[in-house]
């Protein structure tokens, strides 16, 4: 039982990262019908922003050496700016483009960011030590866990509450929900398309930056493709949860996290190296049972 609770805590921690990334992807999909494959690269960029730009093998901390009160906003601002610039330069000129066009553009953006990082920082993985105090173990009753897991879960809950408050209670949040459901009608009521889309990119970037920091303090390694596996799992989470539903993105993120961790823990040892095959097998089963996700969006199905 204690073993199971321990695994559940791990699953919630991993699921939190997927849920945060899935929210970032789901938000842009909801508003723009853009499946943003560059989201993982926004995450990567946030991590690289911590060190001095140089191709040296040993990473020198820049922003990463600051106190967290300055570090977190700085990294968030950098990724948000990159997200907004991506919108202005790439996605705004493609506003009337089809969903596949937007998706292809996001692939292109993904490669541009990855190769940009390669050019500036070099190809070798870099070790980086961020918030090493967080890997200390803490005791909660019978469970032992690194502080980091608790921080990840806590930050995720906090951000989800903030996002919910923003979407339900503020004027821009209501505009975003309206735009996500029926963009044309929202515009006829005076909702500014470019502003709302920019806001979605900014929030998505902020979420990506948060994932960067939490992830890099877990792994301690920088590579130019580090964000991609998270974004891939997060994308799957948005599909499992129900494309276009933010609650679905969160539910899907946790579902995928729980599936992955529990398989790792309970598969027979011989089969563990094939964990992802089992994980995706389960995901296919979920999709066969519920093709439009765990929490389907009515707005998508009922478009007149």
């Amino acid at each position: 039982m204690i073993g199971f609770l321990q695994n559940l805590l791990d699953a919630l921690s991993l699921g939190s990262l997927y849920a945060l990334a899935a929210l970032g992807i789901g938000l842009l999909f909801g508003i723009l019908r853009l499946v943003n494959f560059a989201h993982g690269d926004f995450i990567t960029l946030g991590a690289y922003a911590l060190i001095v730009p140089s191709s040296a093998d040993i990473a020198t901390l820049l922003i990463g050496g600051w106190t967290w009160v300055a570090l977190v906003p700085a990294v968030v601002v950098i990724v948000v700016v990159v997200a907004l610039v991506s919108d202005a330069l790439i996605f705004r000129p493609l506003r009337t483009g089809s969903a596949p066009t937007l998706m292809t553009a996001s692939f292109a953006l993904s490669f541009i960011i990855q190769n940009g990082i390669l050019m500036i920082y070099g190809a070798r993985p870099k070790a980086i030590n961020l918030w090493s105090g967080l890997s200390d173990q803490v005791q909660i009753g019978p469970l032992t866990t690194p502080k980091l897991d608790l921080v990840v879960i806590g930050v995720t809950i906090l951000l989800m509450l903030l996002l919910t408050f923003f979407l339900k209670r503020t004027r821009y949040g209501i505009q975003m929900r309206a735009a996500a459901e029926n963009f044309r009608m929202a515009r006829h009521l005076g909702v500014d398309a470019n502003f709302v889309i920019g806001l979605a990119f900014a929030i998505s970037g902020g979420l990506a930056a948060t994932v960067s920091l939490l992830f890099v303090s877990q792994t301690g390694t920088l590579t130019q493709t580090m964000g991609q596996p998270i974004a891939l799992f997060a994308f799957i989470a948005t599909v499992v949860g129900g494309m276009g539903s933010l609650v679905g993105a969160v539910v899907g993120g946790f579902a995928v996290g729980i599936i992955v961790v529990m398989l790792q823990a309970y598969l027979p040892p011989d089969l563990r190296s094939f964990r992802d095959a089992f994980a995706f097998g389960l995901i296919i089963l979920v999709l066969v049972a519920r093709p439009s996700g765990l929490i389907p969006t009515r707005g998508l199905a009922e478009r007149v």
Binding site: I174, R187, V191
Partner: protein, 249 residues
């Protein structure tokens, strides 16, 4: 009198298909003008082009002397003109109140917003009862009331309503028209309404255009068209009536 809305030579194409051919209409302040025509006549295209939803191929549309062609829909909405599109289009996951408030969110917060909301709730008591329900759970008639109320929240001087009767029971349609007429008096609105059936239009409109095949076939005051014969001719195109045909003998 200077017209509130002036459309001149407006043409809209979808690919090679011409939806509107050099349509010219005008709406004067305080008028209730109806555009009647069969399905596919181009009525929705006309409203969409005026509201910035589709880009016309040629022509101009002016609201209070301001050129609308080339403007974005969200900017047109802020001029004081509101479109109530076909098929109601409530935001089904937002509550009734959020749907209504959306109309004010584009402006600076003002105490007038609350008064306005209260006034609209008085016009539509049913919406007040359901104010915290998701709009998707309302009946068709209630949704039609909601989109009209929502349009009014933007403080428009001109409201364009695209086929308010579509998919509603005749009794509900009558209610919708009664409300539009009341609102027109209470709020000093100017109304442009698309409709397929001419019967109701003759009862409520000041002036009527008949649109068929993307071309205006007839324009006259409702008074002159009361016996309906000229409208029927223009609507079905069995004979080519002259403009201002008046009452046939």
């Amino acid at each position: 009198m200077v017209a509130m809305l002036t459309v001149e030579g407006l043409s809209v194409n979808y690919g090679r298909l011409a939806a509107l051919r050099e349509v010219s209409i005008h709406v004067d302040p305080g008028e209730l003008v109806c555009i009647v025509g069969p399905n596919g006549a181009g009525k929705s295209s006309l409203m969409n082009a005026i509201a910035g939803g589709v880009a016309p191929r040629a022509g101009s549309a002016k609201f209070e002397n301001k050129e609308l062609v080339g403007m974005r829909p969200e900017h047109i909405a802020r001029l004081g003109m509101s479109l109530v599109p076909e098929g109601r289009q409530v935001f089904s996951t937002l509550t009734v109140e959020e749907n209504l408030r959306l109309g004010t969110l584009i402006r600076r917060r003002s105490p007038d917003d609350e008064l306005r909301l209260a006034r609209i709730m008085r016009h539509f008591p049913r919406l007040n009862e359901r104010r915290n329900a998701p709009a998707g759970t309302l009946s068709g008639g209630e949704q039609q009331m909601l989109v009209i109320g929502r349009a009014l929240m933007t403080q428009p001087r001109l409201v364009m309503v695209d086929e308010p009767s579509l998919g509603l029971a005749p009794m509900i349609v009558d209610q919708v028209y009664e409300i539009l007429r009341d609102l027109r008096q209470a709020e000093g609105l100017t109304l442009l309404i698309n409709e397929q059936s001419s019967k109701r239009v003759l009862k409520y409109a000041d002036r009527i255009y008949v649109l068929r095949g993307g071309v205006i076939r007839l324009e006259d005051s409702a008074e002159n068209l009361q016996d309906g014969a000229a409208i029927v001719q223009a609507y079905f195109g069995f004979a080519r009536p002259a403009a201002n045909a008046g009452l046939p003998a």
